[in-house]
Subunit: 493 residues, 4 copies
């Protein structure tokens, strides 16, 4: 066992433990990096953006921002960005300050303090032809080298965000705006969904492999774009289709035009979107995620049945899969774990003394449900293993006689370079330990992971639709683009 992992394990093996101190520690979960939303030719676009971003809030809780253009009023920019949830950053007065019929918006996780407000998106630039706003979800693998090249030529950057490079590439081009944008997009390697707005145009682009989700809907005479379909549904927009890999959509006073900056390749959508990130009521490439997750649970039941008294899921992300596991096995699904929905950023963490007394605040095991029972605990993934250990121990303390852990994805072994905030490889428990060692580390009676094939089948379901390619590099190390293992993996947004 490596020292690091050992330390982490020891952290949670004592008789007293709790839910961590900082926010990041509370759930040892992967974090989505961003969500984007855009609307074109919609009256009061910022109000629509408010509800659309709100539906994407789970993709980023740290900062929110919107930029609007009123096409009937010269196309001047209005924007506001702030730290916090959409509902905290925007009030009616601020929405009133964002008139217009076009909007791009963004929700984001940040990794640092308030001085990083500067990194909140949409980023706003002023260049030769006017104003430029950019909102991204994802990561540009070769941004550092492009950035260095631009700086050598005298470019000034306002943020640490790699997103900024696309604005510089466009500003330095002598071609017209759309051609400049296509050139710029072609240079970028990685996984990204881009919304780019100028005084006159809105551009929508997905990377060459369609790594990050991006969908298009129709609302009245206008168009809506979002990271997930749940935002379309919230807005009352009708889903049209997923934006295609390498596609560039151009909207302006002449209407909508579909173009591409790369020839169409097989899609490689991020597998973790199916497993964990996207909302269960969203569809990706036509697949509803609650249903897909339920099928993962069913598949897992077929692959690794265990005789037990109750099935429970780790809330909120694994409930669907747990129900699927229960349906398939006939073991009753029960509410063995519960999450308190009122916690949030401003919540006061319990002191060490209180934690030692047993004060819990986010997740509790339900004694009446698990006491004296053999429990199947369904979770979607194991990153470092610390949270799993903690939850297994919560169940044991509440009286579970056996805890069988079932994971609805293959072992997570490789870092992501496309916009998911993953720890270093050496902190990924599955890259450091055998399955039996993991079982010991998390104090489980048994543990199994869903197989690659089972996972793929569960996603595809009994559904014949094509275009179901996935990036599963985190499981199989097969990255769809060149990556630079020495560079920072954090997202561009």
């Amino acid at each position: 066992m490596s020292d690091e992992v050992m330390q982490l394990s020891q952290l949670w093996t004592g008789s007293h433990y709790n839910e961590g101190i900082g926010r990041d520690d509370i759930f040892d979960k992967l974090r989505e990096e961003c969500g984007v939303f855009g609307a074109f030719n919609i009256p009061d676009a910022s109000s629509l953006g408010y509800y659309g971003l709100h539906a994407l809030q789970h993709r980023g809780e740290e900062s929110s921002g919107m930029c609007t253009v009123d096409s009937r009023n010269g196309g001047s920019f209005n924007y506001y960005r702030g730290m916090g949830l959409v509902k905290e950053v925007f009030n009616q007065e601020r929405l009133d300050g964002l008139p217009g019929d076009r909007v791009i918006g963004h929700v984001r996780y940040s990794t640092a303090g308030e001085s990083k407000l500067g990194n909140a998106q949409p980023l706003i630039f002023k260049y030769r032809d006017g104003d430029l706003a950019v909102a991204t979800n994802g990561n540009i693998v070769n941004a550092p080298s492009i950035r260095e090249e631009l700086e050598q030529q005298g470019s000034i950057f306002q943020t640490t965000s790699d997103t900024e490079v696309i604005a510089h590439l466009i500003a330095r081009s002598s071609k017209d705006f759309v051609s400049a944008a296509k050139d710029a997009l072609q240079r970028l390697i990685g996984g990204f969904a881009f919304l780019i707005m100028t005084n006159g145009k809105l551009l929508v682009a997905s990377d060459a492999h369609g790594l990050r989700p991006l969908v298009m809907g129709k609302l009245g005479e206008g168009y809506v774009f979002a990271s997930e379909t749940c935002a379309l549904e919230t807005c009352g927009a009708v889903y049209e289709r997923d934006v295609q890999p390498g596609e560039l959509i151009i909207l302006d006073s002449d209407g909508i035009r579909f173009d591409r900056f790369e020839k169409l390749e097989r899609r490689a959508t991020c597998a973790m979107e199916y497993i964990y990130f996207a909302r269960p009521d969203s569809d990706i490439n036509g697949i509803n995620l609650h249903s897909a997750r339920k099928r993962m649970g069913q598949k897992l039941a077929l692959e690794s049945f265990v005789d037990a008294d109750v099935v429970t899921g780790v809330p909120d992300s694994s409930i669907s899969a747990a129900i699927g596991y229960a349906e398939q096995t006939g073991i009753p699904y029960e509410l063995g774990l519960i999450k308190n929905k009122y916690t949030g950023r401003t919540f006061i963490q319990p002191s060490q003394e209180l934690r030692e007394k047993g004060v819990k605040m986010k997740l509790s095991a339900v004694r009446k449900v698990v006491e004296g029972k053999r429990v199947v605990m369904i979770d979607d993934s194991i990153v470092r293993g610390t949270t799993s250990l903690r939850i297994v121990n919560l169940l044991r303390e509440a009286g579970a006689t056996e805890v069988h852990v079932r994971i609805t994805s293959p072992p997570f072994m490789n870092p992501c370079y496309y916009g998911i905030d993953t720890p270093d490889r050496k902190e990924l428990i599955a890259s450091q330990k055998t399955v039996e060692e993991i079982r010991q580390a998390i104090n489980a009676d048994s543990i199994t992971f869903l197989s690659h094939e089972g996972f793929i089948e569960a996603v595809g379901g009994n559904d014949g639709e094509f275009n179901r390619g996935m990036c599963m590099a985190c499981f199989d190390n097969d990255y769809p683009t060149p990556v630079d293992p020495t560079s920072e993996k954090s997202c561009s947004c």
Copy 2:
């Protein structure tokens, strides 16, 4: 059809509708009125209170308050109350301003604006023998007549809360404090859980029928009291027992003493606590509520099976029952409805124009799940029927071919006088319409309610514990105390 109900129905029958404007309209749900929490002989009691009240937040989101006493420091009072969630009202600085080893706290719904902060509890009084703090959950049926009598004698009230009468009755008595409190409690008719604190003592009392839940736990050398067991669990306290009907527990420097102000009668716990109010991970009288609700769903399946493609529950309260229904019938449970967890008090309501465009913010139907399907929709109760109509229509708009409504309780026909905020009888759809008329009003293909017997069996389960009496007056008009139908029904807290 009465005019009122017709109007309400028409409100939601149009082709466009949405989630209401004011908070009260958003979910036409009954509202619990309060939660109470107390701790005795616990170092840093206010921090424990913070986590305990937080676990009871679902019982009252509008105001929060705590009062502490430091028994080693003369017993002087410290308190703070404010509008908002526990995490909004209290920060570390405010907790630091509440030193002590004893605490009583309260979360509350209010029906009006900020000037009603005065009604936030614990209420604090200064009387002959020092300070007095009172926190209540419930309603005192005869408070208005006692209040009038006191006012005629020259008493001044600081609030509109009926809770205040107990303080006046105690202050005007010439007996010692405990005797005075017993006399006062004896005079009160209704359903209530009381925590009363003076500079030297903490009193804990449950009404003569045990209408409102109240439990006792042990934590180290101290005691914890709360409206629900989930607060004990959150605090790391060990559940001891439910406070008995008519019981008065006295804690002071001499320790704990169990007394009563009424002789023990059969318990009549509020049925709606089992059905809807209490958290699913709480136990009442030894019954876990998730399990009870699942059994309600199972019983409902046995009583009124319908052939369908999917079962879905109205979040959050009916998920357990829906899973029970699905398990019993073999029809798969699916996520047909989803609630957005980020909305809250400060959320901007969509304008009429946006609502007509279809903007939703709290509840959405999941198209991929329900499209072309026959749906069983499980809900816990129907009050006015407006929300049910709305949800049925949401499902139909998302493509459900049939919607069969199954309610996990008998028809709700009579107002509550014991602390639940219910509309007037004429607004209760089940007291105005036949089941068939209700079906039409909510646009369902079929509707059934759980029978009285089925409900009682589901609560009792296969569990032999005694003391399972319930108040089911809202279903059967059999009130355990005299009530005054002309008086205001709202709670004392």
Copy 3:
């Protein structure tokens, strides 16, 4: 030299010192306790109250509150109170929540933290005949004994404020409201200005000696009452007259009626209102305070001329007097001391390290003005002497060669029992030391106080108006009522 005073002196004698840590220490000044404002028969009375209270803000910066009644709408009460300045406590939304054509309002100093919001006025009570709101400025000397008597009879108090006794006395009376109020006012000993509002009436009363200022104005068809005339001026109201000692004014739907609860006695207005508390643009009993203070400076010049290069005043209260001194002597008035106007409650106090570096934030000496000069420094009073020492030292550090302190009032030797927050007698430097000892303690080259006669003449000026009686007990120990030296001196409001 007493130990206490010695300690205080030593505090400021070192080579480094600064402006204190807590707010109270920053300026060792007496503090006015409250301001009251009322309006009757004025549309949108709360907006008028906002501007009126704002004009009285100098009389209390810690909490603000208003209560309104809409006489055309049944007389129901609306109120809001909060910690902070008027502009912080009230926004448009909160004013909108206070409809009505009658208002009473209050600004207040508090001596403790936020849990004392309960003491913010107007206090609101519910009694037999409806609602009762009370706002006071001043102190009731015999409130503790009345309170004890009431508690023995079973009364409950909601605050620690002595103001509350008047409400209980009224509630317990069997007479009609006005008679009950007169009886209650007769029982009270002390100095106070009362505004009392019920659903139907507004009462305005001044104590038997007129110790605390209270004026009446006319605005359109309505009436305005305030602690100072500056509030009338701000409201556009026309000054009518000062409320008389022992007067009770009754306003209701029958109009205005002038009554009394005590026979008219010689007025004994608080001398410190003339010297320091009231705004310079206010008039008391027809005397403008800027002019009175300028005359105090002139009189002081005649009584104790000293040859010097510049005259400077301690801002803000002593500027008028300093100009008077300069005019009389011909020595130029200069800006030798300056106060930073942006400091306030939220300001971060400099750390010890920064203070040792010389960081100042409230008061600075202006080097260019005082360097190499003999300075006359005018101040209004000396309480403990600590601030005087600090300012003298500031001037010396900035290069003043001589500092001659001139005080525009007699030595302050006795505590106030009528609503001014004064320290204990043993902390009053003038009651512990001779004038020469004071000079040494504050490091001045000379010091003189204005004589009693000079002070009286300066206030009366060359003006023949009668009714100029003053309470000068703080200078001469001649209290106009019995006082209880053992009781707490702090105000009732």
Copy 4:
């Protein structure tokens, strides 16, 4: 009379008027555009910056910001900027987030809403050699043409602030940083004080004519730079000297070095700094401003004596001059006008209805002082004339029999291009009307302006110091640099 001026006049001629609606209207005053503060080699530099900026708050109340570098820790940047006063933007937590021994800070007026936070300074850039922070006071006349040139070369701007051009000029230069900065400064035409910080260096520069004030002080082993000496005094720093025209001071780990980017020319300090902007306790080029303003009043008295009963000054800026006028003439100085110190950004403006009732909130005339009196009203300048008319009318309504206006500067006839926010020439009353017409427009009995010679003598005083050159272009149209009358005049900061 031009139409515009006529309209403006009519605005205030009616029998009712008040203090305007928006902030800008409240006092028709010129507005300083910014203040800058820097410290080098000072432990806990951000705390010092807090007090320093606070002392400069009068130069900009809309936004505040600081950027720090810890030279012992690699020179990484920390910064925070926000809308509001220094005390509102920074709290202890935010200061703690700004560690370091070097700081540059900025206070600023903005002309627009919150979306302009992006323009708050210090501006932060990332370029080839690391980080760059810039804080400016003043205006660059030729920034638009440089900006256009840079944009044509593909530069992206993050703000509308012209300040940004200097960063681009530096980033695009192939020379070393200091040489690049000197080249850049040489290209800029205008009036400006610059603080420029990189990870390794701090640069301090004043424009070629020293138009905007900038001073240097010493504090322990470190240096302090500020727009005014009052900030040095607040910090406990010892004034060293004013930064010279065309000077460039370089501070880094090698210490301090004095260089220049232009050869030394005669200074042309902005005259309005002497008259109005700078704090009265500040010195510019060795002249104390209170004293200078008093001499302006004395000079005005000699030039245009008028027989009257009282002299009063428009607060706060004209008090010093009014005292000077009074001293010279022997007419007593009185407090005829008073400003309420508690108003501020969040203050609710009185409704039209209340204003018609006479509600005032910022400025009142003191009836007792001016009633029946002939008043000399001293003000520092007249811009549009609207405020003067309003104040004259306030005095007349309070009973003044005559109002003689005396202005302590020559007529303000020409817009400023160097950082003062002035209206267009056609709105400047003195450029549109004769003195007699102005007298009529403001409803005065007489009006005089201080002569050019009188003004110059008053500033120079009886003081022999050289280096007293002033820019008086606003009076005499003699601009020290080329200006572009067609360009926007607003400041770069």
